[in-house]
Amino acid sequence: MSSHLLALSVGPVQEFIAASRRTRDLWFGSYLLSEISKAVARSVRIDGGKLIFPSPDNADELEPQTGSDDDARALNVANIIIAELKDRDPSVVVQNAKNAARARWRKFADDVFDDPKITRAIREEIWKDQVNDVVEFYAAWVPFNGANYPLARKRVTQLLAGRKNCRDFCPAKGRAKVPKSSLDGLRESVLVERRDDWSAKTKRSLRVRDGEQLDVVGVVKRAAGGDRPYPSVSRVAADPWLRGVKDDDLEPFKEVCASFGGNALHRLDTEIYPRYERFPYEGTAVYRNRYKELEEETGVDIKPLADALKALTDKHKEPNPYLSVLVADGDRMGPAISELKDIGEHQAFSKALSTFAESAKAIVREHRGVLVYAGGDDVLAFLPVDQCLSCARKLHDTFGELLKEQSKETKQELTLSVGVAIAHFLDNLEDLLNFGREAEKHAKNPQDDDRKPDGTKQEKRNGLAVHLLKRGGSPITVRANWSDDLDERLATMAEWLADGKLPTRLANELRGIADAYERWDDGNALENAIQKDALRVVGKKQPPSEGAMGNIGDMIRARVKNAATLKRFANELLVARQMETALRQIRHETAQGDDE
């Protein structure tokens, strides 16, 4: 029997990852997909396949995960697997891999169904309709005798793409009079109609809102893998404020949180999340506008918590509700993979990527964030606003460093583009993800009016984009190549603002001037007029403390040539203002003019 190159793909990505209401849905869906991919890779390996992507050092790395490290769970095996088969029938290996994928999914689903506190909430007949029709699997293979690997890889990728053009599926076993899943509406809900007799444990496991409906995928994402809580977006948003609250004030509030005994407020495992030890509870606890929903979901009287929070916020103001969503993606990965000459080079490439994913885990943790997934060249994480830029820079630099050899080998500059969206934690999770992805797309592709500080065009890829999405008002976006040090500029401006060296309303006034000059033709007269106008405003403003107005003046002279350049400059100041809010909360101060 001859040798083959085999390519496999697993899904459904959309249902597992994008259809989410709670952070746990998102995180567990991503983990689920990775575990199924791992089961496929493991099966191929057991059948004698030599794994190329992923390329684990030893078989243990493909064993089903049983540990308790949620960050490790966020380390993902991508849903594409490439392997070399020697003297094996590819169709048999593929069938075994398909069975392994389905068995892994069924293990998660069966564990949930067999849990008595969940079983009572499930309509068994609908569950059975759906449970065997979830995993998607596609495979293609080509002969490969060891020579001309790039050609064989290209051919098998082409065939797999052709295979995936036929998304074959079974007809639905739909049922009348049953509401559909609230997450994506694709299947009927498996939850029983009457919920008033659910136990506290059932409620705690499923955390469904009144009227919320979940199909088999939704229930597995919500309830599989135990009850251990995952940090919510509200916990991440509240982090700067919580760091600013003095211990003496926080302790009594924590005692009230603890008195609920986990019934209303999930307690984070501080061994897994030591960075949240200071306040190891859901962020919901510090946002009073979430209390109604908390009461709905848990059925617990929330009044003692409300009283304790009032005492705290009377002294420390309200926590700011914004957090950052970071989405990073490697640049020129496709062309680079096309340049890999043999299996060894591709395996080394896979290893470099998995080392990066490991590093990403540590970097996000250092920056007090929550990793949702890191696999291949992709990273998705939630971060406190004050930490997002330094985390983005560290990820970018680490990626470049770890893939330096591969850049040389493939003659492709392998860089990381990072998009950061700063948005309200109450925005729908699906929207938060989309905001992050939009920012990442922008990081890769500058728009026409994105320019370097000297007015020249920005290059594609190797970029950082920050999008600020305030509730009310259009998004404010800034983008630059990493070499332009946008991150440093924003951080410096935020520090100046927080130190009172710049007046907080300067950005809005500069935006106003930019709008007034919008339709003026470019030229020396315009440059002169707009600079003078902007400098007039700077000169008129009195910052609370001496310091940075001169620097701002210098920046205006160097950068502002017309309405577009002034607008970009003002946008940077506006983004910096959001970061200033976080800095002031850490310093236990309220930003001037901060109304949220």
């Binding site: 082409q158 053009n165 074959d168 007809p171 009348a176 509401p179 559909k180 409906q213 109604k292 062309p335």
Partner: protein
């Protein structure tokens, strides 16, 4: 009796996906990308029932369900538009050069190669280079479509006559607390609707004039109805809601629309030349009893489409992942309808002609190929035919 309708939208149109929405169910409406056929059929049947002063008894409902409703499609500058076919992929070069347009082809599997496609189908592939597909226009004018169906991708180019999906009109609503006169805590909900009066032009620059960025559109539907239903449809001219939330549309019958629903001469001419390999493109989503596989194909993937006379052998498929359709039934069992899975519009099926003559397919242009009779009457699976 066949009647052609022109619909002019007054409001953004609500065509929701299956997620629960309403008090105590969900506070966020999600729109599908284009009106589902069943939404149009349901709204028209209600309009006709009301116009006839009927009581919506079982007998009335039975008559109304007999009406065949097809569409809607956009019409701009007097031309009909269809959804983009799946076998078109755009490669956008890095250097800003003109995008390359590729047409998917049935790929011959060489010795030793294989894939896990069902029934020995061949994969539909593009040229072998690695690239991330770029955006393609969502709606294609009938003459462009005809060209795509009878020729290959050579000399095919996109311009501003191609249109994009409708913009989404999202509105946030609050519930007022009557005692406080202010927004009630947590009572916030969002509706989403399709702005179906204009479609964005492909490649338009954001700072262009509105008229260069958007094409004004009407919608068109075809109705086959007999008896009292037919009598009410034929002279139709009135305002009635389309879709959810009672968003208003002007409906009127327009005889001159008939020619636009016919097979373009270039396609009819090509089909008359006894081609041996065909492409069937879904202009509306299809519902098949075999999921992705039409029920009119046997275990060997051989069969005859509804209303046609030749025998076809399925060779390859280029379809996106399934989507769900359900809805709300006012008839018993009243409540949410069961989910059905659809092959999305734009899906392409490749066939060999095994027996018979393909020329008859020109008469089957925009006729439904779904399996269930009622799904066909509801407009699911309208097919366009071409050669491969």
């Amino acid at each position: 009796m066949t009647t052609f309708l022109e619909l002019t939208c007054r409001d953004p149109i609500v065509s929701r996906d299956g997620r629960p929405f309403g008090v105590g169910q969900g506070n966020r409406m999600k729109s599908v990308g284009w009106l589902l056929p069943s939404v149009v059929a349901g709204s028209l049947r209600t309009m006709i029932g009301k116009a006839a002063g009927r009581d919506f008894s079982d007998a009335t409902a039975k008559d109304l369900l007999q009406m065949s409703v097809a569409g809607v499609f956009p019409v701009a500058d007097g031309r009909l538009y269809y959804p983009a076919p799946n076998d078109c992929v755009v490669e956008k070069p890095d250097d800003g050069a003109k995008p390359a347009i590729h047409q998917g082809k049935l790929e011959a599997i060489r010795d030793g190669e294989g894939c896990d496609l069902p029934g020995g189908l061949a994969p539909v592939t593009l040229k072998g280079e690695d690239f991330k597909p770029g955006p393609k226009p969502d709606w294609w004018r009938d003459d462009h479509y005809a060209k795509w169906l009878v020729t290959d991708e050579k000399d095919f180019a996109f311009d501003e006559t191609f249109l994009q999906a409708p913009c989404l009109d999202e509105r946030t609503h609050v519930s007022l607390d009557p005692a406080a006169g202010a927004a009630a805590e947590g009572e916030l909900f969002t509706t989403a609707a399709l702005a179906a009066t204009h479609l964005p032009r492909y490649g338009a620059k954001p700072d262009d004039l509105f008229s260069r960025r958007f094409a004004e559109i009407r919608l068109t539907a075809r109705v086959v109805a007999d008896g009292w239903c037919g009598e009410k449809v034929e002279p139709l001219n009135g305002v009635h809601p389309l879709g959810g939330e009672r968003r208003l549309v002007h409906w009127r019958s327009v005889a001159e629309m008939a020619s636009k629903w016919k097979c373009p001469p270039a396609v009819a001419d090509t089909l008359s030349k006894k081609p041996t390999r065909l492409r069937m493109v879904l202009a509306t989503p299809a519902i098949f009893c075999g999921g992705w596989k039409p029920g009119w194909l046997d275990a060997e993937l051989r069969g005859t489409p509804p209303g046609a006379s030749m025998t076809l052998q399925l060779k390859g498929v280029c379809i996106e992942r399934w989507r769900a359709v359900s809805g709300w039934s006012l008839a018993e069992p009243r409540g949410p309808k069961p989910v059905k899975r659809m092959v999305p519009a734009g899906g392409v099926y490749f066939f060999d002609v095994v027996a018979g003559d393909a020329s008859g397919l020109a008469e089957r242009w925009l006729e439904p190929v779904s399996d269930d009779e009622q799904d066909r009457r509801n407009g699911f699976g309208l097919a366009l035919w071409g050669v491969a």
